[in-house]
Amino acid sequence: MAQSPFDHPLHDWQRRLIETLEQAAELPVDTRGATPFTHHGEVGPGMHLRRYAPQAATGQRPVLIVYSLVNRPFILDLTERRSLIAALTRAGHPVYLLDWGYPKGADRFLDLGDYIDDFLATAAEEVAAREGATADLLGVCQGGVFALCLAALQPQRVHRLVNLVTPVDFHTPGDQLSRMAQGVDFDQAAQTLGNVSAEWLNSVFVALKPYRLLAQRYMELPELADHPEALHDFLRLERWMYDSPDQAATAFAEFGRECYQRNGLLNGTLTLNGRPVRLSAIEQPVLNVYAEQDHLVPPAAARALGAHVGSTDYGELAFPGGHLGVFISRRAHAELLPRIVAWLAE
């Protein structure tokens, strides 16, 4: 099996890798998102409410998107072809996105009560005042937890609720993130480290799937040579994965302790500003979307909502894919998003 290195199959792979790297160097990476928006006020320190205008005047109710604190929301508007936000504006919804921004030094003392009971509530109030109708909330991952809390504590601010890949039971079997969180002293970490570094948190997420995220992902990069659109999408997603804000220390510690360690959202022991959050108090219609191969929010963690929510109008949608697939996969845009849009239009 004597081969010269230039006959080696690896040789073609490496040559294509170099071509891809050269093409990638020419491409810009924009993290602003594909859909134009206007700023509509500041609801907290560095937290802005964005408005995406509806593309058709159909009189649809406004949708307020509540994104997680962990990453930046441009994954919802990655490209024109793969934009959850654009799918909603095309259906005639004025869409609002609460951009949590990047916490600064003093924000380390902001707690979950500040984030949910104050800033999110203010955003919902602003939307209702501007649009003349209470918004439907679309919560994403941790943002879904925030949306549930608001619906439970201030039901007048939420018309209906769509949750995407949102954990509710933090102690389900197979929840690797939760297992790792059990021994961590979150309060000591918050007190000592201040706002939790995005790099540190990203390294924890990557450590859940290092072979896929650090090895296989780049192994497939050469296949994008001469596919500029796919390469551009890859670069944007790559930027999104690691363009993370630091986490406000107090809120992060509270979320880790009360949700991951004490399972307080499910058990009803989570309190905000002294008031317990009861899922049974949520009576608005709820659509709960979960991903069947989600390694961050296992299906059982999301589906637990059904057994605890007070609403009699509760539905579930299962998506055959992973955590991110819900936002960016072709299948989600072809099959899942139309069903969400249809539910919102009911």
Partner: protein, 265 residues
């Protein structure tokens, strides 16, 4: 020089040797496509790299000395009898606070090193288990004509990835890993805390603002903003909102008047 020119024979060889799959692929080729002596040597070489890394880590942990909750290694008798003396000496005299801080920092550093080694050991064991699984898979395929051996680098890579990931995830799912990760996170925090205390004390001696001072100011600021936010009467908020909306309309009207196409009547 264009990248194509730089992409030469030597570069390819170096790239191949830099990854375990590159090493194994080259060995598989040398064995004629079916695992033989070259593959045995390659697997042994990769395992011995892991052993070297692990023994280096163990040496660091041993030199750190502390393992137990009390910061003392039961296998090392000298620190065990010396530690109480040192602890007591650190409480005597005018420099006792500084000495206690230094001792605390040393203990925190030792605990961090042990926690780090404990995590690394679990992960290295999973890498070794992945290699073992891949080797068995190759040997079984070589003996079974129904199961084809990898005929290209990509297939071997997929085998390595699947087997290694399965072993890694098994390690991550263990209670041992969850506990080790918790210990490492907490030991890291404790070490940072000790460094902060050292630094704060130095700054205080020089009458410079330290971390405590900054945090105190930030806390007061956030509490003030929170109290203002929550105590603002609803009517006042509504009035402000209306005023902002009115001003926005006014600005919009003014801008419209100043657009080039606009003509005054």
């Amino acid at each position: 020089m264009a990248s194509g020119e730089a992409f030469n024979h030597e570069w390819i060889l170096r790239m191949g040797d830099a990854t375990p799959v590159g090493v194994l692929w080259r060995a598989l080729q040398a064995d004629g496509g079916s695992p033989g002596p070259a593959c045995d040597t390659a697997f042994q070489g990769l395992r011995s790299q892991l052993d070297t890394t692990l023994s280096g880590l163990n040496a660091v942990a041993t030199s750190a000395g502390a393992t137990g909750e009390d910061g003392v290694d039961p296998a090392n008798e000298t620190p065990q009898w010396l530690t109480p003396w040192l602890q007591t000496l650190a409480r005597l005299g005018p420099w006792q606070h500084g000495l206690e801080r230094t001792q605390g920092l040393q203990i925190a550093l030792d605990r961090y090193l042990h926690a780090h080694v404990e995590c690394a050991r679990i992960l290295l064991d999973s890498v070794r288990a992945g290699l073992d699984t891949l080797e068995q898979r190759l040997q079984m395929a070589a003996q079974d004509p129904q199961r084809p051996l990898p005929e290209d680098y990509r297939t071997l890579y997929e085998w390595w990835l699947t087997d290694s990931e399965a072993c890694y995830e098994q390690a991550l799912a263990s209670a041992q890993w969850a506990e080790a990760f918790g210990r490492l996170a907490n030991a890291t925090t404790a070490l940072v805390d000790r460094y902060q205390k050292q630094l704060d004390a130095g700054l205080r001696t020089l009458d410079l603002p330290n971390r405590d001072d900054f945090l105190d100011t930030q806390r007061r600021l956030v509490e003030l903003e929170r109290s203002q936010r929550r105590n603002t009467p609803g009517d006042e908020l509504a009035a402000l909102r209306n005023e902002v909306a009115r001003l926005r309309d006014e600005v919009g009207a003014l801008r419209a008047e100043r657009t080039p196409g606009h003509r005054e009547r």
